[in-house]
Amino acid sequence: MKNLPRNHRVVYLRLILLWIFVAGWLLALLRGSSGTSNQDILPESFPAILQVGPAIVRLFSAPSIQWGFLISFAGLLIIISTTVAFGRWYCASICPMGVLQDLAIRISKKFRKSRHFHFFKPYHAIPWAILVLIGYGLIRGYGLLYTMFEPYGVAIRPFSLALEPLARKFSYQTLPSQYSTIATTTFLLASIWLALFLVIAFFRGRFFCRHLCPVGAILESCAIGSRRKLQIDSPTCVNCGKCESICRAMCIDSARHFIDYRRCVLCFECLNKCPTGAITYKQEKERVSVTEPSLLSSSSGWSENTSQPVAISTRRGFIKFVPMLLLVGMWILIEPSVRRRAQSGVEISIGAYERHVAIPPGAVSLERLVSRCVGCGLCEAVCPSGVIQLSSSVQGIAHPALPILNYGRGYCQYDCRRCMAVCPTGALSIISLEEKKLTRVGISHFVRGRCIIVRHGRPCGACAEHCPTGAISLQERSRGRGRGRIMAEPVIDESLCIGCGACEAVCPARPKKAMYVEGLAVHEKITLASSKPVEIKDDKGKFPF
């Protein structure tokens, strides 16, 4: 590697970017819950905020111009413009799905020494169909395809779920023992889904990026105009076919000396492996108008029957659209049920209860959260109390990894909005701390018969103790069974309750808690009486004893 030509430095550039992002991820996931800052933007969110998929959604979901919105917008602008100039560098450097697939491919090379990959003709229908359907879902209010095919969410979800208990151990913030492990169903769904693509990557390279990835579809159309690209220099090439056999994007046609740079993810493997140095990454000498027709007529020997819309009249082209039509057709069939599920006030059971689920503040409404959330689990990773947990049981098919508030694990901290600050898609929109303190995500309910004060006649009041808004007070109402003396028992003033779940989380009654929070599908605002000033007693030097 000593005598690399100058332009091979891009190889290192890619690796540096890659490792910065990998380190960023690990830092975010392992240190997330231990932070104390309450800013609009957390440093932990930087690897997420620069992801194309979430950033695009944020453009549509930010209620106002906020820092997160601006950074996403700027990041998106940078990525799109550099893609236009240099090609799809995003896919092999900062896309976590790309990085994981590359890892699988690297492992596969150890086992499969013989001719590995081969050229695959481009086929764009499915990613575009998915992209269109995701957009449709965002408008109609459900996020199934978004969570299933947006590469960032797919890749990160299993990791944020699996690393969360470990991170809590590191930061000495342990949860109640029955909740200290990960949410099994959600984790299994997420890891099976990711593992599926990694296994495919093991055998077929970047299959996901080629055939499914909606972000890939967007970047592909951006890369059409790129001037700097990988090219095969025909006179130097000895037709050994090495480049084609190692191309994970399956975009090198070595026989025709052609690289389909729209699908090329700039992993620079071919650059390293070419024995004669025929492959270069450089500026094109003359600026050809690189639109669809010019590509077709270029001297690379590209045949016309492989291109899309233009070729729809041919039977072969039409057959290629069949899977896309099937996909759309299937979606039209299941869409009503998914939408109904996404918009209904959902009943689920957490622990012993059937109840409406509460969602984190900033989500505004269940419908909005379901359509905007990519299910990456960053909010769960940074939640200091652990109350946020991704759940697959809530929305089922409408959203397989929805962040909900599980009050068995803890309660929503009154002076915290880390989940909003870290959310890359704006599904949890950033609201001011004052506003957050007045946002009602659910309402507490008191089951009198389970209360320790009522049942045993012992003083408790843990709920009133933890209530941040003073919605719960102990009032003398009952005759305690134990001693026959008047005991004060909890009374909830519903107009002050914000549903933070502190009362439920700390209620010591077993097996069933006496307090439970019923979530709201649409968040509300409460009004608080203004705080009274500190009384200054003028009794200098007086002691009450």
């Binding site: 913030q173 200091p384 109390s385 009154y414 915290c416 009041g461 103790e465 003073g470 500190v534 200098k540």
Partner: protein, 330 residues
């Protein structure tokens, strides 16, 4: 020495051989060498002395002292109170390992009076260090998330700047299971390891109202060194609060009553009423501290179940007449 062993009774009757003695001595040496690195701490003589606490009122028959200081700044009050009680040097020796246990339960700023005021904590840590303490550890098993509570209460910074060490207490792995002899309800509980191992415990509660227990002060503040607080609530808050002090009563109690929360405690809410008292109450007896503090808060000590229970258990006295009260006005 050859001898046939025919039955178990024979084996027991066997004479002690030289080899047995050497073997025994070897075992004893090895086990003594291993003991310090074992996770289980054996109760040694010094441990039982410690559990009684220096503040045990009936230890020498003398009246327990209560110092109450009013007026001045937070620092002034701490200085004057410690001076009046005879200096911190009588407990904190050179090389001592000191635990300062403030109330850091909530992610609330110092103005909210939900946590001990950081200036009080800082001054106490400084006193300990100038008295020659080897290590001053500060922690609380917080209710809100601990990093946020430590930081926003201002106590983390105060302790660090004073040269102390602030350590976590929100992980079960830091706690050791302990039996409490003489307890009827709280027979065993998990206690923070540092609370058990320290030479000196300085309990620094803030005085405020408490929805469940009526008032939180010296005895109630010790709930912050226990892992399972739900057990207290489930099995009788008053009894458990009182009985925990049987395990180990603090060496010294310093009650911050500078700005007290009269209603809506312990966390405080927008309806809470505060009152400035500019007071500090110091005693080696936590029950005495709580009795005096209750009067400051405007409550009757006899209405607070745990004060009565703790006094019956002999942890301290709930009668101010039995104590020597030193009142100081700055």
């Amino acid at each position: 020495m050859k001898r046939e062993i025919t039955s178990k009774a024979d084996e027991r009757l066997r004479e002690v051989s030289r080899r047995d003695i050497i073997r025994g001595a070897l075992w004893a040496t090895v086990s003594m060498m291993i003991q310090p690195i074992l996770p289980v701490k054996f109760a040694l003589a010094s441990d039982s002395d410690r559990t009684k606490g220096a503040g045990y009122p009936t230890s020498d028959g003398a009246k327990p002292i209560l110092v109450a200081v009013k007026g001045g700044s937070y620092e002034d009050r701490v200085d004057r109170a410690l001076e009046a009680i005879g200096g911190i040097n009588q407990w904190v020796k050179k090389g001592s390992r000191v635990v300062v246990k403030p109330n850091i339960g909530w992610n609330v700023a110092p103005e909210g009076a939900a946590n001990t005021h950081p200036r009080v904590v800082k001054r106490i840590v400084e006193h300990c260090i100038s008295a020659g303490a080897k290590e001053v550890l500060v922690f609380d098993h917080t209710c809100d998330s601990w990093q946020a509570a430590y930081k926003n209460s201002g106590i983390e910074e105060a302790v660090k700047s004073a040269g102390g060490k602030i350590i976590p207490a929100n992980s079960e792995s830091l706690y050791e299971k302990k039996e409490i002899t003489g307890a009827s309800t709280l027979k065993e509980t998990k206690v923070h390891g540092e609370y058990l191992n320290a030479d000196v415990i300085i309990n620094v509660p803030i005085l405020k109202s408490h929805s469940g227990a009526g008032m939180t002060c010296a005895l109630k503040n010790l709930m912050g060194v226990v892992w399972d607080r739900g057990y207290y609530h489930l099995h009788g808050l008053d009894t458990c609060i009182a009985e925990f002090a049987l395990l180990r009563s603090p060496t010294l109690n310093i009650v911050d009553a500078g700005n007290i929360m009269k209603t809506g405690g312990p966390r405080g809410n927008p309806k809470s009423v505060f009152e400035r008292q500019d007071m500090l109450i110091v005693s080696t007896d936590p029950v005495l501290c709580d009795t005096a503090s209750a009067l400051v808060l405007g409550k009757k000590p006899e209405e607070l179940g745990y004060i009565e229970k703790a006094s019956k258990l002999g942890i301290g006295t709930n009668s101010l007449d039995n104590a020597e009260v030193r009142r100081i006005t700055i």
